[in-house]
Symmetry: C2
Subunit: 320 residues, 2 copies
Amino acid sequence: MADDNNLPAVIIHRLSDFQHPLPWPKHTIFNPIESSDPLYPVHRASARVLIVIPPSPLKAEHLDQYPSVECVVGTSAGVDHIDLAECRARNIRVTGAGSAFAEDGADYAIGLLLDVLRRVSAAHRFVRAGLWPVKDHFPLGNKLGEKRVGIVGLGNIGTLVAKRLEPFGCTIAYTSRNKKPQIPYAYYPTVLDLATNSDSLIICCALSNKTRHIINRDVLTALGKKGVIVNIGRGALVDEKELVKFLVEGELGGAGLDVFENEPEVPKELYMLDNVVLSPHRAVATPESFNNVMEVVIANITAFFLNKPLLSEIDLNDWC
Amino acid sequence: MADDNNLPAVIIHRLSDFQHPLPWPKHTIFNPIESSDPLYPVHRASARVLIVIPPSPLKAEHLDQYPSVECVVGTSAGVDHIDLAECRARNIRVTGAGSAFAEDGADYAIGLLLDVLRRVSAAHRFVRAGLWPVKDHFPLGNKLGEKRVGIVGLGNIGTLVAKRLEPFGCTIAYTSRNKKPQIPYAYYPTVLDLATNSDSLIICCALSNKTRHIINRDVLTALGKKGVIVNIGRGALVDEKELVKFLVEGELGGAGLDVFENEPEVPKELYMLDNVVLSPHRAVATPESFNNVMEVVIANITAFFLNKPLLSEIDLNDWC
């Protein structure tokens, strides 16, 4: 047990559905305490650090169960499952996964974009259905180069998406809360402006009350019939009902979707569309990334107990 | 007709199965003559330039039908359908598509690599089969970054594949006939050496008698159980029978295959493998690329008639 050596206790909060063991490295002094531990109720009252396993929500009623918590350590790129306003009100600090998942997220965004534009999954279905020898005319996809790609949110992931897009010969633009200094890409103050000037949009911003449904009917209309949406952020960044309508009616060129508004529910209307690639929220998930995130989690916990600056603290004033 | 104004005739050679019209630009003085033209037999005897539509073979018996041809203009990235030795023996020059298809080919190679490693097509099948709500544990893919990617053939396409891989954080190496000057990637003199030092191989070299089955049993063994093969070159670069055996027996990590030894036949054993992405020879095919290649074709024809250097002439001494 973690407090055998009088080490401070670190406790885990998770939905009972999500019992995958944390890939916790062997050689670390902290030993996070699961609810199966007989001493869990004791630690629940005294633990100062709480690790939250997504998508378990952490709201006021949950926080009430951990009265001594001073620091909530997130293990995911997005922290929309954590009630940040409530944490701020209770003077609880919050950390996220920082850039631990960023490379995988960016890789997957490029994979989805290439898949939709060049019809990779559709090609695979065509061949597997035995249609190639029969029906030679598999419709061509479109070239990525020379396209205008708009990045919604130029944070940890968005920046790496842009870097990866550069050698493909795309014209890159972005929108974010503020224009970033020394960034060579065109900045548009609104998603609507960005969509008007883009052939594809890659959505990789955080979900908050300010960004919910930022991809709405107007944005989809601006993107147009040949426009492609890739979403590796959160499902609720997009008005999913509108998105489905646009795709079903052929008013949008295609979509690569790793996230959905009511996961794991995926709108069935999308299942049979050849220009849509669906994925079960796996953009940032590889064994390599999980190792990265465990390093970040441990570094944050260590920093907290040593009164050092946290590695990937979330600025709650920015969010709430 | 092309010779209405006494312009030199340009004639087309193609299999009767491949009757897609050439996307020939309107404003060009050359008007290629199809076999449906009543004057085709006349032009066949006198035409000095022959456009070949792949995969129509152009062998000695075909060349006999075009006794005046001095220049064969290819419209594809690979020219393995043209008997280059026979062309050399008859003093016929040959041009290829040069770099017209290179960007699309490189894009598609990255798309296939990401798809296999990150399991994009497999994810799509998982969601479409309605398994996500039921069976949450979709197996994770692997990160592209930090992997060693070996490029077989650092020509027009291979060079662009490498450029695209750089921001993903891969270690890039290559093999080719000769070490290229001023290239920052590690060079291995043989495919076997390259495979021994790579996690994934991307095959984008030309098919010739020297490269047939360069990906053989030894190379696959060297690549190993987690190794991934992407082939956008030609099917016969790989010993397909061995490749299928390795994949079926789990002795190779996965494959993204746009080309096959006996197209359009695809080994049925590959249909159901979740770690294999199949594609009907579409890596270099987009409307944008077809426009590019038409420009190259016209530039070569123009150069030929003006006695200027051909734009993308194939060095037959290098090939035969």
